[in-house]
């Protein structure tokens, strides 16, 4: 659990939509094997930060460096190929495909075969496909969906859908994985399960960036927490220090009880 070297470094990141500054001069870094929590009141710019990292829209200023290399300006699929995978706040499975195939799509960027070997049916293409299927099955076991392997994706429960998204993101062999409110909508026992899985992911040396409203869930996982408010970073500290940070308490409108309390009901939609 000792954090490794810096994987992604965000500095002076800003994004404006019309007159609204959604992200304002934010900087932080995520290290390998570290779980970094990203919190803030609704509309603080957490999701926008995610979308900037994933390349959905370009930043107005600032830089996002991966191993020291600038990634701003790259389209989403290129960023995925660089080792940044994500789950969505609202599950987005591929509904017409099986659970296993969903996970196999996640591994898209790890394949190197091209279309010609596929057409020729070469041994390498076939063994790559076999290995991929095996890897997908292992990931399905890892997240605990073994029983649901043959269930149509549309009949999975919400929590199972979240686990599927997690396995799908892991299939891409990410070096950074972004979770957008993973605990929202889960039952308490599912929360515990997901928490263990995320812990396990970090133990594999993968950097984890976690947006979460459920403080109980977040504080038990995160080694470090970045707090945003109105697009600006107001704190970057250890979880225990965040609880007592006056700026943070102020940001949550003096609602100090929110911090550290079990706020499963407080997880609203993020703007």
């Amino acid at each position: 659990m000792t954090a490794g070297k810096t994987f992604i470094e965000i500095s002076n990141l800003s994004k404006r939509f019309g007159g609204l500054t959604a992200v304002d001069d934010v900087d932080f870094e995520v290290r390998e094997g570290e779980v970094l929590g990203l919190i803030g009141p609704n509309g603080a710019g957490k999701s926008t930060t995610f979308n900037l990292i994933c390349g959905y829209y370009p930043a107005n200023t600032g830089s996002i460096r991966l191993d020291g290399k600038e990634i701003i300006g790259q389209p989403p699929h290129k960023i995925a190929a660089l080792g940044i995978m994500r789950t969505f706040q609202h599950n987005m499975p591929f509904e017409g495909m099986s659970v296993t195939e969903n996970v196999m799509v996640g591994a898209h960027t790890t394949l190197h075969g091209g279309l010609i070997p596929v057409l020729l049916g070469t041994g390498r293409a076939r063994s790559e496909e076999r290995a991929l299927r095996k890897k997908a099955d292992e990931l399905i076991d890892f997240v605990g969906l073994s029983e649901e392997r043959d269930t149509p994706v549309t009949s999975l429960s919400f929590g199972q859908g979240r686990l599927l998204e997690t396995a799908r993101a892991l299939a891409g062999e990410p070096r950074l994985i972004l979770f957008d409110e993973p605990a929202a909508g889960l039952t308490p026992s599912e929360c515990v399960r997901l928490s263990e899985i995320i812990r396990g992911i970090a133990d594999r040396g993968i950097a984890v960036l976690l947006i979460e409203h459920d403080m109980h869930f977040l504080m038990s996982l995160a080694e470090r927490v970045v707090v945003l408010n109105f697009g600006s970073k107001i704190a970057d500290a250890l979880p225990q220090d965040i609880r007592n940070n006056p700026a943070v308490i102020q940001a949550y409108l003096g609602d100090a009880a929110v911090i550290g309390a079990d706020t499963e009901n407080g997880s609203g939609a993020d703007a």
């Binding site: 994933c54 699929h77 987005m92 499975p93 279309l115 596929v118 057409l119 891409g172």
Partner: protein, 316 residues
């Protein structure tokens, strides 16, 4: 090994059948093969890659007209005309496919429908080059080793095109590429987040399947040694859509079932009930969409699945 025997067996049967059929039935048979070949490539485009394009028949027409024009008017030998026609279809498809990267759902349908319409306008007004509204007639395939390829031999050619198309599509469908196509169909944003290059994948699907349509169209051109605009018009483009949906969109078997069924419906029923068979087509379409969006193949799966589930329950 088993697969080779299965494919070889299928090819053998498909190639022997036309020699056993009387002339009219043989013609029905080979035209059915043409439709099946188009339906399976269209199914990949619409049912698997999720692109509601209505240009598929136009590309069959581009293949047919180009090969005939090259041979009869430019004197290009057949073996060169085939790759040239496929190449032209590929280039045009590549250009049109950019519409597929910018437009979604019915907007793509409208744009490709306009393209198909434009193709017909050009055929109608093409003068001596395209033969105008009457089309091109009375050309012939060259003799191959002094042998005239006609009748059932063309059915064999079409059967081979069909099998080649099917083998090709099955291979790519069961690979990372097929998965990427389905992922884009189901959720483009999530597919991109998984590293799928949405634009490139869409362009490839459109171009590949359109070239396949052109290949089938080329063989079709020599069935009756005539090509004319109505064959490649809007009605047939919609017919193809109906075939794939009624059979079961996204399923290769569904496309085959849909094409065979609707062709049989037309060829067998038309002499008896006239226009009524088209009504049946409309009713089938509405019923399938309302009852089982996965088409006839889906209804079959439901029946079999229920039986299996019943059996499983019966076990202690």
């Amino acid at each position: 090994m088993g697969a080779a025997i299965r494919w070889g067996g299928a090819a053998l049967i498909m190639c022997v059948v036309p020699f056993l059929l009387p002339l009219y039935e043989m013609d029905v048979y080979r035209k059915m093969l043409f439709w099946v070949a188009l339906a399976i490539s269209y199914n990949f485009l619409f049912g698997i890659a999720g692109q509601m394009a209505l240009s598929h028949f136009a590309f069959a027409g581009i293949g047919a007209y180009t090969v005939v024009i090259l041979m009869t008017q430019a004197g290009v030998p057949l073996l060169l005309a085939i790759p040239l026609a496929l190449g032209l279809a590929g280039i045009l498809a590549f250009i049109v496919s950019f519409a597929a990267t910018r437009l979604e759902g019915f907007y793509l349908a409208l744009a490709t429908l306009a393209f198909a319409q434009l193709f017909i306008v050009i055929l109608d007004e093409g003068g001596a080059l395209t033969g105008g509204t009457g089309g091109l007639t009375s050309y012939k395939l060259p003799l191959v080793f002094g042998f005239e390829i006609q009748g059932p031999w063309l059915a064999i050619a079409m059967a081979l095109v069909l099998l080649l198309t099917l083998a090709f599509l099955l291979r790519i469908d069961r690979s990372w590429y097929g998965r990427a196509c389905r992922a884009i169909r189901d959720n483009g944003e999530a597919a991109a987040a998984m590293g799928v290059d949405v634009k490139r994948t869409k362009i490839m699907a459109f171009t590949l399947t359109s070239v396949m349509a052109a290949g089938a169209g080329m063989v079709y051109a020599f069935f009756d040694n005539t090509v004319n605009p109505p064959v490649f018009g809007l009605e047939n483009a919609f017919m193809l859509l109906f075939m794939v949906i009624i059979g079961g969109s996204g399923s290769h078997l569904g496309a085959i079932v849909g094409a065979v069924l609707l062709r049989l419906l037309q060829d067998m029923l038309e002499p008896f009930v006239g226009q009524f068979h088209v009504m049946g087509l409309g009713i089938l379409m509405v019923v399938v969409i309302l009852v089982q969006p996965k088409g006839l193949v889906g209804i079959w799966d439901d029946l079999v699945g229920r039986k299996r589930a019943g059996r499983r329950k019966a076990k202690p």
